[in-house]
Structure formats: C-alpha cells, structure tokens
C-alpha cells in the first residue's frame, strides 16, 4: 500500500536518514524499532511531509500511485488526516487545551469538508465511543485537562481515525502511559486494525511492545534500517549485531552480590499524607485527598527495595516524604532510628529527567557540588568532585563542561555523581532510568549495582517498570491508591503475585514470547 524506496533526509545539510526502504501492506501492523536518535520519528514525519524547516528529502514514498515526497502542500493537507492519520507520544500536550474534545475530533471532518457541523459532531461522538470514550460517560464538552493521559491518547486516536484513514502512524503512542493503560491502548489499536482494515505503522523503542503487536518489523540505527522481516523471524534470528545488542539490553540483569544486613536503615511507620482539594463552597471545609495511606515498611541497610505503582498511586509523594519534603498527617519516617529531615547528607535522590534537574548555566563541577550547600563546602571539594565523576564512569576533566554537552545517559551519570558527593548511605531513585534508551539503561543499571557493592548503599527504587524492578531490587512493594497492597522478595512477587492488582500489573506488561528467547 505504501512503498518507500531509498528515503534520504538531511536537515540543514546534516544527514539524518540514509536509503531507508520498506513497504507496508494493507491491514498489517508494521513495527519500526530503534533507540532515540535512530531516525524512526523523522521517517514517519517524512511520509507526512511535516518535517522541520531546512529539511531536504530524496527518494520515493509511493502511496497508492502518488509519491508523497513530491506532493504540493495543498495536496498533502488533503491527504493528512483523511488518508494517513498520525498520533504522537505525549498525550498530555498533544491536544489543544482551550478546545473541547468533541470540537477537536469534529474538526478532522470539517477541515476536509466531509460533513456539516451537526453531522461532524455526531460522527465525532461515534468515533469517541469507538475508542472507549462514550459520550454518556465522557461528554463531548470536556476539555483535555479534565481527562487522564490514557483518555487523552484515546481522543488523539479518535481524531486520527475520524475519517477512517488507510494508514495510521503511531509514534511511541504508549511510552508516556502506565502499563495497564498501555495494554488498553495497544489492544484498541489492534482492534482498529482488525475492524477497519487499516494499516498501522507502530514506532517504538520497546521491543516487547512490537513483539506483541507487529506482523513485520524494521530495526533502525543511526538513520538506517539494519534489519527487517517478519517479527518472529527477526526475534529468533537476531542476525544483526545491533539487534542482538538491543535484545540483550532489553532485559539486562546486572551482576549483583547484595549484602543485605538486618540493620533497619529506613523505617516508615504508619505514614499518612493528605492533600487539600479545592473547596466546593466558599466557606465549607476543603475536602482532602489521601495520597499516602497508612504506609509501613522497613528498608534494611545494603538492601535494594523497589516501589512499583502506576501514576497517581502515591509513590512519588511517598518518595518526597522519605526525603523529608512532605509533612505527614500521621506516622513517622526514621533514618537510622531518628526522624528524617530535608537535606540530610546521608540521603540523596536521583530523579527521572536528568536535564530538568540541572541549571544549564553552571558547569558540571558546580552542579555536582550542589549538595554541599546544605552541609558546607569541605576543604577537599575538588578532589571529591573528581572522585564522584570517576565513580560514575566519567573523567575529572568533565567538571569544566556544561550539561548540554552530555548525552541523556551521561546526564543521568552526572545526577548520580551529584548524589554520591555527600557519601550518602541511602539513595532514592525516582524513575531514575525510565527516560533512558534500553542500552543506556542497561549501563546505568550496571553502574548502580557496582556502586551499591562498592559503598554498601541502600536503594529505594521507585518505578513503574517491572523490568527495572526485576533487574535491581531484592524486595518490592506494590502500591495502589496510597496503600501498599503487596510486599515480598522480588522474585516471589513477580513470579507468584498474590494481590489481584499485582497480577494485573504483571499481566499488562508487554513481554517478548518465551519461545523467541531461545538463543544464547
């Protein structure tokens, strides 16, 4: 249905894609796999002709019998949304915040002149119902900020399929979503392919997602396709070294020799955290939302404890409480038997977004030394900065550089160096590897395992990713709606979950079929 031959793309003279060739057949799910920067998104944007300014393409992309790369902008406007639909990664920002969802879906029909206003609204309601947002439950008059991330992605899908396009391009459609929501959205996309007979081009970095979805896949690296074929065959053969590397990294298990003691390091006893909600009436009592509900656990010295849960389960609030940044309404949190306080040098934190947590105007030396603000600059500060950078696999000379000179994985290493600078005993890792590519993530996990062994660190690992929990934790807590619903050794919880919620989480996580893993 679409045949791409020798697609080459440069932006302001920088080569981005080289000789990309593939074809997508009617009614199939076509997976495009690669790490960030491999060019998979720009391949899709080339087909849509929605490239950034300064882009130069060559090659051909034959859709039916026309070449998408040579169509006029006016002709492309007629094709986009009608023949080819597209959805993007970030459901939180993909919708216009000041327009109702009904209007946004109806707009697809109106802009193509396929329906009048009344009819377009009616079709919008039908399409929203098809994607799981029936108007009786989610009225068309809702605004995006009144919906959850998963619901917003459903709206984006309804917009893209309003005119029943023959090709739907989905660029990392579930990367920003929780596992259970991800499973629902993937099932919806698969159902649409079956019911509507359209083709789906699924772009993702997640091998497990394509394994369960795609009929055929291509693997991209540095702007080129390195391997392609039916999904099962690619997974079983792994003929290209890069594919093998990706595959190995996706369920990488670092070498760990945990030295867990019986010494209680961090104790949370009956912790409760309430948030005030907006008042309903002017003088009434403000209602509260219980984000953390009577949570008790103990993290032993040298242990790596996982805390899993979906967004909204209260795990980030709990992390902030551990750091002494959230006042508790009941219960207490003890570090070495004494109440925790904010800025304690014995406890440090690493967050998800390495770039957002650094001031871009300071050099790395100053960024890494930030925790000294709370404990005073030691006389050997420079030596300790050099030591911390060496510990995380960087060099002391990196101290003079700025943060934008580093890649995402290196930035997360710098964040870890910043945490190590106070010689802490406990590190809280809040989704610390979630934003990293699989191969980078494998390296960072190795680093964390190594540091733990070397310094006898305790880790509190907060994540929604069960692979990460499996890789790096000894014990795991499962959190749902502010409560710990299950607790136990990681292996036991993941292989024989007792609580139905844990079972749902594990079932929802996409996995590569076991029979495809049988190669050394």
């Amino acid at each position: 249905m679409i045949e791409v031959t020798d697609l080459t793309l440069g932006i302001h003279g920088t080569p981005i894609l080289r000789d990309v060739s593939f074809d997508i057949r009617p009614g199939e799910v076509f997976g495009v796999v690669g790490e960030s920067g491999s060019g998979k998104s720009l391949t899709a944007l080339s087909l849509m002709q929605l490239l950034p300014e300064g882009a130069q393409t060559s090659g051909r992309a034959i859709f039916d019998d026309i070449d998408l790369l040579t169509q006029s902008e006016r002709r492309m406007c007629a094709l986009r949304g009608a023949e080819i639909g597209m959805i993007f990664q970030e459901p939180m920002t993909a919708l216009n915040p000041v327009q109702t969802i009904g209007d946004q879906v109806a707009e697809t029909l109106l802009v193509h002149g396929k329906a009048g206003r009344a009819e377009a609204t009616q079709i919008a309601a039908e399409r929203l119902a098809r994607v799981g947002l029936p108007p009786e439950k989610v009225p068309l008059s809702r605004y995006p900020h009144e919906l959850s991330g998963g619901q917003r992605q459903r709206v984006a899908i309804a917009m893209a399929i309003a005119l029943r396009p023959r090709l739907l391009i989905a660029d990392e459609p579930t990367t920003a979503l929780d596992v259970t929501t991800q499973a629902q959205i993937l099932a919806l996309l698969k159902g649409l392919v079956t019911d509507e007979g359209m083709s789906l081009m699924l772009i993702t970095h997640d091998l497990a997602v394509v394994a369960g979805m795609a009929d055929r896949i291509v693997v991209m690296q540095a702007g080129q396709i390195v391997e392609s074929g039916p999904t099962a065959r690619v997974f079983q053969a792994l003929s290209h070294p890069y594919t093998r590397q990706l595959f190995a990294a996706s369920d990488h298990q670092p070498q760990r020799q945990p030295h867990v003691t019986d010494d209680p390091h961090l104790q949370m006893q009956g912790a409760v955290r309430d948030y005030h909600l907006p008042r309903r009436s002017l003088f009434g009592k403000a209602p509260t939302f219980r984000a953390v509900n009577d949570v008790t656990f103990t993290l032993r010295r040298g242990e790596s404890l996982g805390l899993v849960g979906e967004s909204g389960s209260g795990k980030s609030t709990l992390a902030r409480a551990v750091l002494g940044l959230e006042p508790l309404q009941a219960g207490r949190i003890l570090l070495d038997g004494a109440p925790v306080r904010a800025g304690d040098p014995r406890m440090q934190v690493v967050f998800q977004d390495p770039y957002g947590s650094f001031n871009p105007r300071h050099r790395v030396a100053r960024l890494v030394a930030e925790p000294f603000h709370t404990m005073g600059h030691p006389h050997d500060a420079d030596a300790r900065i050099a030591e911390a950078l060496t510990d995380v696999g960087l060099t002391p000379s990196d101290a003079d550089k700025y943060i934008h000179e580093f890649s995402g994985g290196q930035r997360q290493r710098i964040a870890i160096a910043r945490a190590l600078i106070t010689r802490p005993e406990l590190i809280v890792l809040d989704e610390a590897v979630s934003a990293l590519d699989v191969s980078v993530r494998a390296n960072v996990l190795d680093l964390l395992a190594d540091l733990q062994a070397r310094y006898g660190l305790s880790y509190l690992f907060i994540t929604h990713d069960l692979q990460v929990v499996r890789a790096i934790t000894d014990r795991v807590l499962v959190m749902q709606a502010g409560r710990i619903v299950e607790e136990g050794p990681t292996e036991r919880v993941l292989s024989a979950p007792e609580h139905p919620y844990t079972r749902d989480l594990i079932a929802a996580a996409p996995a590569i079929p076991a029979e495809w893993r049988n190669h050394a």
Partner: protein
C-alpha cells in the same frame, strides 16, 4: 466559573479598600495642613480655618475617612475648591472625552496589532518579520507626542483633513466629535499597537511550537488554519494582560496628548488639580482612576477564564 469570578471580585474589592486607605492617608493624614497647603503661604489664619471647616477637616481621622468613602459611594465626590462645582460633575464632563478617546485608541491599537502580529509570527525569520519587528521597535521608541505633532503637521496643516486640536463637544454630533478624537487616538495607539503586536508575535511563536499544533497539522489543517484555529486563542492570555494595562494607562496617561490637542480630558483635570493645589479634585480623581484600573483588571480576569477553560475549574 462563578466561584472563580466571586474570588476575583472579592480580591479586587480588597485591593480597592487598601488603595482608598493609602490615598486618604497620603493626602490628609501626612503632616501639613491641607487647607494651608491649598491656600498658599500668605493666607490669613481665618481663611485657613474657614477652608478647614469647608473641607470637613475637623473631626477624627476614621470619621473623616468614612465620610469620604461614604460620599463617594453615594456619588458625592466633594466640591472642587478652584472650580467651585461638584467634582462629580467635573469628572463626568471630562470622562465624556477621555473614555471615548481611550476606547478609540485601544480599538485602533488592537485593529493594527492583530494582523501585524499574526503576519510577523506566520512569516517568522523572513523579511516581513524583520520589517515588522523594526517598525514596531520604532513605534515603541518614538514618544507619542512626537507622533502627535507629526500627525498635526501632515493631516491638519498640510492636508486640511482634521483640525489641529480642540474638542467641539458631543452636542455638535457624533461625527465631528470622532473626527476631533481621531488624530489623538492614532498618536496614542501607535506605540500601544507596537507593544501589542510584539507580544502577540512572541506568544504566537511559542504556541506554534506546541505539540497540539503538530497534531492539528496531522489532521490536515494548513499552516494558516492551525494558526488561526489553534494557536491564536492559546496566545491570547498575554495579549489580554497587555490590553488591560493599556486601557488603564490610556484613561489617565493621555495627559501629554490631551495637552498637544487641547482636549478637555481627565489627564488634564488631574494636572490642573495638582498645579492649583485642588486636593479635593486630586483625591477623588485618583480614587476614581484606581477604581477604573481595578474594574478593568476584573474584566481582564473574566476574559482570561473565557479564553482558557483551565482557569474555570469546574469542580
């Protein structure tokens, strides 16, 4: 929505009360006898005493404050010492010029700024954009009285289209009135339009980079449709803020332009009140302007909520 409006209303009422206390304190309570100040150095004690009684300066401070506020609430702004007429009448007379002038200038400013700002954003980084940015830079830098004199020179002296100044009064008819206000309104509007166009341009450029614009383009909207249909309304918040500030400024800040064109406006009234030491006029007109600014702020707050549903907080 109602909750939001009520909260904004209460907060602004509070600002109004605080402002009234500050104005009252500055003019009446601060050391120095207002009556002696108004009459000058050579006044006899008897005259001063008479004026004090006249102004209601006898009595406790809270009682005088309440009397002043109570008077204003019932429409009694006191009597001007120099004009010997109620301040309310004076202000009403001046507002007939200042209010239409401000509205006229604001309308012109918006009508100029909207297309210009949109054009600059749509042609970002091209010659049109650079041209507009240069022109608006000039519009901000050049003082408006210079524009005013230029306009008089060209359109009143070289071309006899407009009169060089004065105001015939609305009794002369709508058209002569508007005609007399046209050149002053243009002179006031040009710098305002330049600021507004630049704010709109940068707000639009920022929204054009948002993910939902890409989504709109993927639905099949052209660049222009995405700009008009999605970017414009999202770029409105900063524009509304500037518009509100500009209206408040235009109401009283037109002093220089009113002088250039000999217009009997509010700005000149304050100016005369200050030079003639007519504290009753100054006090009341200042309070009235504070009220106008706060009322405009309230309207702008309501406009925010109309433009952005996230501010309404239904639940």
């Amino acid at each position: 929505m109602l909750r939001y409006a009520t909260l904004r209303f209460l907060s602004l009422t509070l600002s109004l009360i605080v402002a009234s206390v500050v104005i009252f304190a500055v003019i009446e309570v601060i050391p120095g006898d207002p009556a002696a100040f108004m009459l000058g150095m050579n006044a006899s004690p008897d005259t001063v005493a008479a004026l004090r009684a006249d102004l209601g300066l006898e009595g406790s401070v809270p009682a005088r404050y309440l009397a002043w506020v109570g008077g204003m609430l019932t429409g009694d702004f006191g009597t001007s010492y120099t004009y010997r007429v109620p301040v309310a009448d004076l202000v009403a007379e001046r507002l007939k010029v200042s209010l239409p002038l401000a509205a006229y200038a604001l309308a012109l400013s918006t009508l100029i700024a909207m297309p210009v700002g949109i054009l600059a954003a749509a042609r970002r980084g091209r010659a049109t954009d650079y041209g507009i940015m240069g022109a608006t830079q000039l519009g901000i830098a050049v003082p408006n009285f210079w524009f005013a004199m230029l306009l008089v020179l060209v359109f009143a002296i070289n071309l006899p289209w407009f009169s060089a100044g004065g105001f015939p009064g609305w009794e002369a008819g709508l058209w002569p009135g508007l005609k007399a206000l046209t050149l002053p309104a243009i002179a006031l509007a040009l710098p305002q339009a330049s600021i507004l166009a630049r704010v709109l341009r940068s707000a639009l450029i920022e929204t054009l980079e948002q993910d939902y614009i890409r989504t709109a383009r993927a639905k099949g909207l052209s660049r222009g449709q995405a700009l008009r249909g999605h970017a414009l309304r999202n770029a409105l918040i900063p524009v509304l803020t500037i518009l509100g500030l500009q209206f408040s400024f235009l109401l009283a800040g037109a002093i220089i332009i009113e002088n250039v064109f000999f217009l009997p406006g509010l700005g000149r009234l304050i100016f005369q009140g200050i030079t003639q030491r007519d504290l009753v006029v100054v006090e009341s007109v200042t309070m009235l302007l504070v009220f106008a600014v706060i009322a405009v702020t309230f309207l702008v707050d309501l406009a925010y909520a109309a433009a952005d549903p996230r501010l309404r907080r239904r639940r």
